[in-house]
Amino acid sequence: MSLPLAATSPRLSVHLFLSIIVIALATCSSAFGQSDSLLDTTVVDDTVSITAAPVTTLLVEDGRYDNGDSLRLFWVPSIDDQLIDSKVTGYRVYRAVNGGDAEPIVDLLPGVGNYTDKNVELDSSYVYYVATLTESGEYPSIHTESKSPQREWINFRRGYLFIIMIIISAAIIFYVETAKRGKKLFVRKIAGLEAIDEAVGRATEMGRPVLFIPGIHDMDDVQTLAALTILGRVSRTIADYDSKIFMPVARSLVMTAARETIKASYQAAGRPDAYSDDMVNYVTDEQFGYVAAVDGLMVREKPATVFLLGAFFAESLILAETGNSVGAIQIAGTARPAQLPFFIAACDFTLIGEELFAASAYLSGEPRMLGSLKGQDVGKAIAMITILLGVVAVTMSEAWDVGIMTDLHAWLVKVFSSS
């Protein structure tokens, strides 16, 4: 059954008229170069695929001089990876572990030709391939061989560091042996250490105790070790003078080591009976809890002498100011540059940086430790000479293009960047 023409003709006429207007507008827009997003959308043909050549020469090798925790991938980027009008949008690295399914591990930018996988384990084997990414898909490369990471026991990149360490160690051994043969080694005076006997004597005269604070770090910090070495000398003097010491600590291992140190000093002084474990007590590991307890101790016990030696942090000024407020003579020392200003401001004597480490050798006077100190000075002399040589070389190289200086500068940079 057909529709009556009279009923349909007006609606057809309207559709026809609108269609003509739209086509005319589209034609005009194209003709005058005016396109809009609607028209653009209509001309894109989404059935066209953008193909790209896969990467080539994909190689995998073990990470050099590591702990068996990296594999390195190298490849030649796709020939369609160009700076201008590139079809390649990036690369995706796939990895199969122990013969399992390959999974993507990272997406990389175009132009990249290598990748180091640091998420690998010693006992596993890995196969990789790299897919070239385009707007319409991925184009995988061939697979690499199966590779397991290996652990290297020696890091040859640090060869020069090793040589310098050997030179400094040889110098230390030389000076230790020299001192052992009876030759007197000169070490300049360190002001803070000269005051130790005087400070302990003052505590004895005043009948008040000595407070020793070894910082808030554990035995794995060399500053704590240096502090305990000085404690040996301080506690020996205290034992000789029959004075008193108390030592609150923030680490249990430090408590054990400090008790051993003081006990040995009292035995060496011939007064083992005067030693008590109560001289050293553990407070808490919490930084400011420890500070609260030590501050309370200071104002109640009113020590005549306070030693603040070791690793300190935000508590340094609180402790030093409280010690100052109770009228104690204070000898401080740390290798923390940020805390040294506070000690210098609030304490009577401050051991700056390496003076703390030198103190142990200086106080003991033992050939072994003095030799070590002299050997370290050799290291500093090497550093000073190198700095002078290096600055002259690089300045002459940059300013006047002196060939030999350029070579010398390059060599020095190579040596001192091997760390």
């Binding site: 560091l161 291992l253 054990t256 080591a257 000024l317 940020a338 700056i352 700095i387």
Partner: protein, 211 residues
């Protein structure tokens, strides 16, 4: 409960701050609570993190953990007076291992990197543009080189600080003190933020005086 915690925090904060006046029972109470709770907290934390978390859960995969556990056990022998001396072994191990580990780290960071960073040109002249450095750059380079060199002279213990060497050491200590002065100001400002944090708690969270 929330109100109780807020008031307790304020009570303890003011208790600790009361030390600024003088030692008093309020401070002693706050100190004892702080020390006791923190010591207990660290005991529980270390027990669950180290003994349970690392050793108990991991010894099947990492048998080397038994070495650490054995050293830890030896430390406990201090409780037995007759064989207490054995506890010195783990201490000796820690001290020796620490020294060895840090030797390389300090050598690398305090000597190698420092020297490498200090080696820089005082100025440069290029044939194209002539003298190619401003006075600011030259002075900056001189400060770095002279400061580092004379600082090293100050820490040289084998020679008395007399004559030219003493003069260089004196310049070095000037550099060090100027650095400490700058560091002092910087650190004081960061400490202020701790005080502001407490004041914010007292005046804002507790008293509601600031929004």
């Amino acid at each position: 409960m929330e109100h109780f915690a807020l008031w307790l925090s304020a009570f303890l904060t003011l208790g600790i701050l009361s030390f600024l006046y003088k030692d008093n029972p309020w401070y002693k109470l706050s100190e004892a609570i702080f020390v006791g709770i923190s010591a207990g907290f660290w005991f529980v934390t270390l027990f669950w993190d180290n003994l349970v978390g690392k050793f108990w859960d991991g010894w099947q995969d990492e048998p080397m953990l038994f070495v650490g556990a054995a050293l830890g056990f030896l430390m406990l022998l201090r409780l037995v007076p007759k064989i207490g001396w054995i506890s010195r072994w783990p201490l000796a191990f820690i001290v020796g291992a620490t020294s060895g580990l840090w030797l390389m780290n300090y050598l690398a960071s305090n000597i190698m990197v420092q020297v490498q960073a200090t080696i820089q040109p005082l100025f440069s002249i290029s044939y194209a543009s002539g003298f190619d450095a401003g006075w600011g750059a030259i002075i900056s380079s001189l400060v770095i080189v002279v400061g580092t060199f004379t600082g090293l002279v100050y820490f040289f213990f084998s020679k008395e600080h007399k004559g030219a060497f003493g003069g260089a050491a004196r310049v070095g200590i000037f550099f060090i003190m100027i650095t400490f002065g700058a560091s002092f100001g910087y650190t004081v400002m960061s400490r202020m933020s701790l005080l502001i944090g407490r004041m914010d708690f007292l005046l804002g969270d507790w008293l509601g005086m600031i929004g």
